[in-house]
C-alpha cells in the first residue's frame, strides 16, 4: 500500500486548530525556522524541563529560568555526561536492590541470587527519578522501549536449558539478561545507532524474544525461515514500514523473507547456568542466506545481502547509513521529545537532524540539533501529549519535591519509598520489561489515552498525597508545609487562594484556569468533613489540609499530560 506522505501541517491540524488563537502562529513556526529565545521565562523553563527530563523540579526550573545560556550550559552537561559523577542517591538506591545485593552482576552471576523483576524495574526507576543525567535516563528508557523485549518470554525459554527448569531461577537469570541490555542502552544512549541496533540483534533477550534462536533453515530443517525478527528489525528497529518523505513502502514480503534467511543460524551458546558466557553463536549448518538483492527505493538504495556469519553485520552497516533509517529514528525522537500532540513534525528541524545523522547514526549530534533548536525551545505548549504511566508516576514526585529518605536527616534514600512510585506506574498500566508487544509501549499506541487510565491514575494520586503521612509507611515523603512556608510570606500561609495559586503554578506554570483554582481552593478551605474551616498553619492537621490541596491540584486532567 503506497501512502501519500503525511502533511505535517495537516497531520496535526486537528490539535492545533483546536487552540484556535494559536493555530496560525504554530503552523508558521513549522514552516519557518523558529528564532531561539534570548531567555526562558519560568513557564517556558518548566515546559522545557518537562520535555527533557522525567519531570520538572523546582530546582531545575529555577536553574533554567533566565538567560538562554543557562539552558545551553545544562544541555551541554546532559549531552556530555560524566556518569561517574551522578547523584550519589542513584548508587545508594541501586545498592539496595535485591535486599542489598545491588543490580545483577554481569560476570559473577550465579544460581540462587534470587533477583526478581521488581529489582531491575526499580533500577530503571532509580535512574529515571533521581539521576542528575536525566537525558541519559530518558534516552536509556527510550532505547529500552525501542528495542523492547518481553521478560516472561525470555524466562520461559531459559528456564529449561539454563535454570534447571526452576521458574524463580529463570526469573533471576532473566533479570540478569534484561539488566545488561538496559545498561547497554543507557550507557550508550547518546552514542552511535549502529552500535545500538547491532547490540540488540545479538542480545540473548532479543535472540529469544523475536525467535532468532529458532530461525533454522539449513539442510536439516524444512528450509522455511522464521520471519519474526526480520520483520521487526525493519518495521520497528530500523526503518519503519513506509519512507515518510515519499510514502513508498520500505520493504515487502520478499525483503522480509530474504533478511530472515540472512539471519538464520544464530542461536545461543551457554555454559549451564554460567550466564556470563551465554552469548550469540552462529551455526552455519542452520543458515540458508542467499546473495539476494533487496530494497531499491528512495530511502533505501539497492542492497545485495551477504551470506554467512557476517551477513547480519553487513546488513546493519548498510541500514544504519540509509536515509530511511535516519528519517525513521529522527522522527521518533522528535515525537518523543517535541511531540505535543499526535503528529507533530518540524521539517526544518528534521532536515537538520538527518544531516547530523552521519554514516552510523550519531545520536548525540542528532539530539544536539533538536534540543538546541528554536522549535524545541519556542513551541507553544498545547498540553496534548499524554505521559506514559512511568512518566506520570515519576513526574509528580519530582514536581512536589518527593523524598525517598525516611527522615530529612537520613544519610541515604530508602528503596522501599521508590518502590512505591514503581508500583504506581505499574498500576496505571506500564510494567517495565513486561510489555508483550515489540513496539514497547509506543507513545502513540492505544496504551495511554482513555478515561479508564485517567480514573486509575487519579485514584492513585489521591491515595498518594492525601493519605501520605510524613516519615510513615513506605510512601514517598513530602513536606508540603515547608514548601508553602518557603514560598509564601507568613501572612499567606493560611490563605487558601494564595496557597492554591502557589500549588497550581508549581505543577502547571501558567497552564491552569479558574475552575482549577476553585477546586484547589475549596479543597484547602474545607476540613475532612467538607465543612468550611480556617486553614491554620499552626494546627496539627495543616500538612493534611495542604495534602488535600495537592490532591486537588494533581487531579486536574493536565496532570496526565506533558
Amino acid at each position: 500500500m503506497r501512502r501519500t506522505p503525511p502533511n505535517s501541517v495537516l497531520g496535526r491540524a486537528a490539535c492545533v486548530l483546536a487552540v484556535a488563537g494559536l493555530a496560525v502562529s504554530t503552523i508558521q513556526a513549522q514552516q519557518l525556522a523558529t528564532a531561539i529565545p534570548t531567555s526562558l521565562s519560568t513557564a517556558r523553563a518548566m515546559h522545557v524541563a518537562n520535555r527533557l527530563t522525567f519531570g520538572q523540579t523546582e530546582a531545575l526550573v529555577n536553574q533554567l529560568t533566565g538567560p538562554i545560556a543557562n539552558y545551553y550550559a545544562y544541555l551541554n552537561a546532559q549531552l556530555n555526561p560524566n556518569l561517574a559523577l551522578d547523584n550519589p542517591d542513584v548508587g545508594s538506591l541501586l545498592s539496595q536492590l535485591n535486599n542489598g545485593s545491588g543490580p545483577p552482576p554481569f560476570t559473577t552471576f550465579a544460581m540462587g541470587m534470587g533477583y526478581r523483576y521488581r529489582d531491575i524495574q526499580n533500577g530503571v526507576y532509580a535512574y529515571s527519578a533521581v539521576s542528575d543525567f536525566q537525558l541519559v535516563a530518558r534516552m536509556g528508557h527510550f532505547w529500552e522501549r525501542h528495542f523492547n523485549t518481553y521478560a516472561n518470554r525470555v524466562r520461559g525459554v531459559v528456564r529449561g536449558p539454563y535454570a534447571n527448569n526452576d521458574l524463580l531461577e529463570a526469573e533471576s537469570l532473566t533479570c540478569r539478561i534484561e539488566w545488561e541490555d538496559y545498561e547497554f542502552y543507557r550507557q550508550n544512549s547518546l552514542g552511535q545507532f549502529r552500535d545500538l541496533i547491532g547490540y540488540t540483534f545479538y542480545s540473548p533477550a532479543m535472540l529469544i524474544y523475536l525467535d532468532t534462536v529458532l530461525n533454522e533453515c539449513g539442510a536439516g530443517s524444512s528450509g522455511i525461515p522464521n520471519e519474526n525478527m526480520s520483520r521487526e528489525l525493519m518495521e520497528l528497529h530500523g526503518i519503519g514500514t513506509n519512507f515518510e518523505p515519499t510514502g513508498e513502502l520500505n520493504y515487502g514480503i520478499n525483503e522480509i523473507q530474504a533478511v530472515a534467511r540472512a539471519m538464520s543460524g544464530w542461536g545461543l551458546r551457554g555454559n549451564g547456568y554460567g550466564i556470563a558466557y551465554l552469548r550469540a553463536s552462529f551455526n552455519v549448518l542452520e543458515h540458508c542466506g542467499t546473495a539476494t538483492t533487496i530494497f531499491g527505493t528512495s530511502g533505501l538504495p539497492a542492497y545485495t545481502l551477504t551470506t554467512g556469519i557476517n551477513a547480519v553485520d553487513d546488513l546493519l552497516d548498510y541500514l544504519a547509513g540509509t536515509e530511511a533509517c535516519a528519517d525513521f529514528i529522527c522522527r521518533k525522537l522528535m515525537l518523543d521529545f517535541m511531540g505535543d500532540g499526535s503528529d507533530d513534525l518540524y521539517p526544518n528541524v528534521l532536515t537538520q537532524m538527518k544531516a547530523a545523522w552521519g554514516p552510523a547514526g550519531d545520536i548525540r549530534a542528532v539530539l544536539n540539533v533538536m534540543l538546541s533548536s528554536g522549535e524545541f525551545l519556542g513551541q507553544t505548549k498545547r498540553w496534548c501529549r499524554a505521559k506514559t504511566p512511568m512518566e506520570t508516576a515519576i513526574s509528580h514526585q519530582r514536581t512536589w519535591g518527593g523524598s525517598y529518605r525516611d527522615t530529612p536527616g537520613s544519610a541515604s534514600p530508602n528503596l522501599d519509598r521508590l518502590n512505591y512510585v514503581r508500583v504506581q506506574g505499574q498500576n496505571i498500566g506500564q510494567s517495565l520489561f513486561l510489555f508483550v508487544s515489540p513496539d514497547g509501549f509506543a507513545l502513540e499506541s492505544n496504551e495511554q489515552p482513555g478515561s479508564g487510565i485517567m480514573l486509575k491514575s487519579l485514584n492513585l494520586f489521591s491515595e498518594s498525597y492525601y493519605t501520605n503521612e510524613p516519615y510513615a509507611g513506605n510512601n514517598v515523603r513530602f513536606d508540603f508545609p515547608a514548601f508553602v512556608m518557603n514560598s509564601l510570606p507568613a501572612a499567606k500561609w493560611g490563605d487558601p487562594r494564595a496557597v492554591a495559586t502557589l500549588f497550581l503554578q508549581r505543577a502547571y506554570g501558567a497552564g491552569w484556569n479558574l475552575d482549577n483554582l476553585t477546586a484547589v481552593g475549596f479543597a484547602l478551605a474545607t476540613d475532612v468533613t467538607g465543612a468550611l474551616a480556617p486553614l491554620d498553619p499552626m494546627a496539627p492537621d495543616y500538612g493534611k489540609r495542604l495534602g488535600q490541596g495537592v490532591v486537588a491540584t494533581t487531579s486536574t486532567p493536565r496532570g496526565l499530560l506533558r
Binding site: I224, G450, E463, A519, A523, Q548
Partner: protein
Amino acid sequence: MTNFDRRQFLRVGGAGALFSGLLSAGTRSPMSVVARLSGSPMPVTTPRVFTIFLRGAMDGVHTVIPKNDPTYLTARFSPEMRPTTAPLAGSTFAELNTDFDLLQDIHNSNNAAFVHQVGNPEGERSHFVEQQIWESAFVPTVAQPSLEEEGVIARLAEAAGFGSDVPGASVSKAMQRFYRGFTPARILAHIRSLSDYSIGAAGGIADRQRDALARNLMTTPTKELERFLDATGEFVLASEDAVSGLAGYQHDGAKFPIGEPEATAAGLDYYQPGDAFMRQCEEGVELLLAAGGPVDCQAVGVEFGGWDTHVDQDEQRPLLDPYLARAIRSIYDCALPACPNFVILVVTEFGRTNFENSRTGTDHGVGSLLMAFGPRVNGGVYNCHDGIGLGRQWRNLGNTPQDYTLWPNAQPVATDFRLIYAEMFEKLFGLTSGAGSQIEQVVPGWTDSNYLGVFN
C-alpha cells in the same frame, strides 16, 4: 469500599460555589448531569455487538481446518501442527479444532459463522498497521489522522444513535482503537475494570478525595483533553457514576473461570493470561446486558493476546483455544435469553502463513478467519469449500510456499473485512448503505452492499 457518590459531590459542590466567589461562569451546571441520569427501565431489545479482538493474528487454519485441501498435509507437515478435529455439520470440506467443541452447539443452532479468507486486500502483514486498519475500518491511501485514529465502533455508535451515559465501552487494559473517537461525540468509555469504579478507602477522608477529584473533573473540557472524555462530553464522572450505580454481579466461575482452581474445575489447562480475558468478558457481559438506565451499552469490546505464534504454535494454541471457546460460549449463553439482537464478533488483524516454518510456528499472512455468533447470524462455513458452499471457493494452501505470486504463502482475501462490517451495521443496526449512506461514513468510503449473507 464506598462507591463514588455523585449526589454527595453535587451537595458539597454547591457549597463550593460559595468559596470566595471563584466558581466561573464556564463551570458545568450540576443540574444537567442530574437530568441525564434519570431514565426509565427498558428491556434489552436494542441491538448489541460484543467484539473480541484476538491480538497477534490468529491462525485460522488451526481453528477451522480445511481438511479436504489436498495440500494441507504438505503445508502443515508436522503432525503436531495439525490439531484433532471434529466435523462441522453442513460442511464436507472443513472441520473444527476440537478445542472449540463448545462452539458446536451454537453452530448446530445455525448461529455460528466461520468466515475464512477475510482481510485487508492491501494488507502489509504488520500487526500495528493492520490492527489500526481493522479497528478504524479505514485503509489509508492518504494520511488522514481523523479516520486512522478513530474506531469504527465509535462511528457506529454515533450513526446508529446509541444512547445513555455509557453507550459503548472498551473493557480492556488499554483503550482499544475500535472505541476511540476523534471528536467528543464519538468517544466511548474505557473501563479497565469495574473494580476501578470505587475510589479510595471508605470513610470521610475518602469522600474528601472524591470531592477533590470530582470538582476538578468538572473543569470545562478543552480539545486537548478529549482523549479522556466519555461519550457524555465529560471526564470519567458520567460513566463512573453510571457504572457505580449498576447492581453488581455474582462472579460465575464455571462460565468465566479465573484462577487455577476455577480453570481446572472448568476443564481448562490453566493459562494465567486467560484470567484477565475472562474477567473482561464477564464484566463485558454485565455491561452489554444492562439496559434502561444510564448504562445502556450497545457495543462492548474485549481483547485477547498471545496469538502471534511464530514458534511453538502446537504448544500455545492448546492453551489459548479452550479459553477463547469457553468465553464465546459463556457470552453467548448469557446473552441469548436476554437479548434477541446480539452478535459476538471475533476478529484478528491477519491470518498466518500457509506453511509452517522450521519451528512449528507460522509467520505473518494476510487473509484470516472471522467468526460471528448470535441469533442474528446466518450460520455456516464461508469461503472454505471445494466448489459448492457459502462464499468463495477455497484457494489451496499450496504445494510450496512459492506457489502464489498474489499473497504469497498466505491465504488470499476472498472477502474484504469491511464488507462484513457493513453487512452487520446495516442488518443489525439499521444503517443505510450505498453511496452517500451512513455506512459510507462509518466505514469510510465503503459503498459495496453485495453482502456475503453472514447476518440476517
